[in-house]
């Protein structure tokens, strides 16, 4: 299992994502300006401030050369995980429905939140149980999810824990095909009990299980 972690100018969680993925399998960094996914079985777009997030979060990164490859990879069924800024980029690139707006509080948020697994039948959540609670941190200014249309929700903030005013407490959504997933919380920051929780690992473990199962079939 080989994860590819994208690095844009302004990415800041790329190394955490890389280290988290390395606990599960092999992981390589993918440079934003390359048309090359280096044979990755799954792609992670990490958190940060791609290209400075000028204009709108994720709006410029969408046009990066590597995004063309990622769009093609996603169209052919490849797994793409977008975390925080990665989620914003995937929405701007129309690989996921909806958009992320400034937090209702207008403040930067940094806290541990409880998430509820709404759909445990996807490539990103298959190692979770339906309704399972995951303790994972959020840290963002632009995390209020909005979609005018119904969406496939994988994770919600637990009741009373919505930190940013997201519509219907949505924390993470996937595309119709189920192979592109974006979430505002940071599973890559919750991979070791030393830092409070290892619940984030289940996302990466699910991706690995899906890829290895697909290969076996």
């Amino acid at each position: 299992m080989k994860f590819g972690v994208v690095r844009f100018p302004g990415s800041c969680d790329d190394l955490d994502a890389l280290q988290a993925a390395e606990r599960i399998g092999e992981a390589v960094l993918l440079w934003h300006a390359d048309h090359d996914l280096q044979g990755a079985d799954a792609v992670i777009i990490p958190g940060g401030f791609s290209y400075g997030d000028y204009l709108r979060a994720g709006a410029i990164a969408r046009f990066a050369p590597v995004m063309e490859e990622i769009a093609e990879f996603a169209r052919s069924g490849g797994l793409v995980l977008g975390i925080c800024n990665g989620f914003q980029v995937l929405c701007e690139a129309h690989l996921l429905p909806g958009a992320l707006l400034p937090n209702a509080s207008l403040r930067f948020l940094f806290r541990q939140v409880e998430l509820e697994v709404i759909d445990a039948g996807t490539p990103f959540t298959r190692e979770c149980a339906p309704g399972q609670r995951l303790s994972i941190p959020v840290k963002h200014t632009t995390g209020r999810y909005y979609s005018p249309d119904p969406v496939h929700v994988l994770l919600r903030y637990a009741p009373g824990q919505n930190p940013n005013g997201s519509q219907d407490d949505i924390a993470g959504v996937c595309n119709e095909e189920g192979n592109v997933f974006g979430l505002m919380p940071h599973p890559e920051h919750a991979v070791d009990l030393l830092t409070g929780s290892a619940d984030g690992l289940s996302i990466f473990e699910s991706m690995k299980a899906h890829v290895e199962h697909s290969v076996a079939v």
């Binding site: 709108r56 709006a59 707006l101 209702a104 509080s105 207008l106 209020r144 909005y146 005013g165």
Partner: protein, 80 residues
């Protein structure tokens, strides 16, 4: 041509920035202000103004959450 693109949060979507400004004004003694919205102004010089709507749709605004308005520098709607 010089043009201005005004980008606003779409109606019906919570606009906390507008709300914060609306709350701040009375505190300074400016009563009777309502319906405040905060958006973005983009000024640009463009050879082919007919392409401005395309630019707005693809980059300058996110049509899902924002409305945009294109104004020619003379204050009139550009043709095309």
């Amino acid at each position: 041509m010089r043009a201005r693109v005004l980008v606003r949060p779409k109606q019906g979507i919570l606009d906390p920035q507008g709300q914060a400004v609306e709350r701040a004004l009375p505190a300074l003694g400016f009563a009777g202000v309502s319906n405040v919205h905060v958006g973005r102004l983009i000024e640009l010089e463009v050879d082919d103004p007919a392409r401005l709507p395309e630019m707005c749709e693809q980059l300058l605004a996110n049509p899902l959450i924002e409305d945009y308005e294109i104004v020619a520098d003379n204050g009139e709607e550009p043709s095309g």
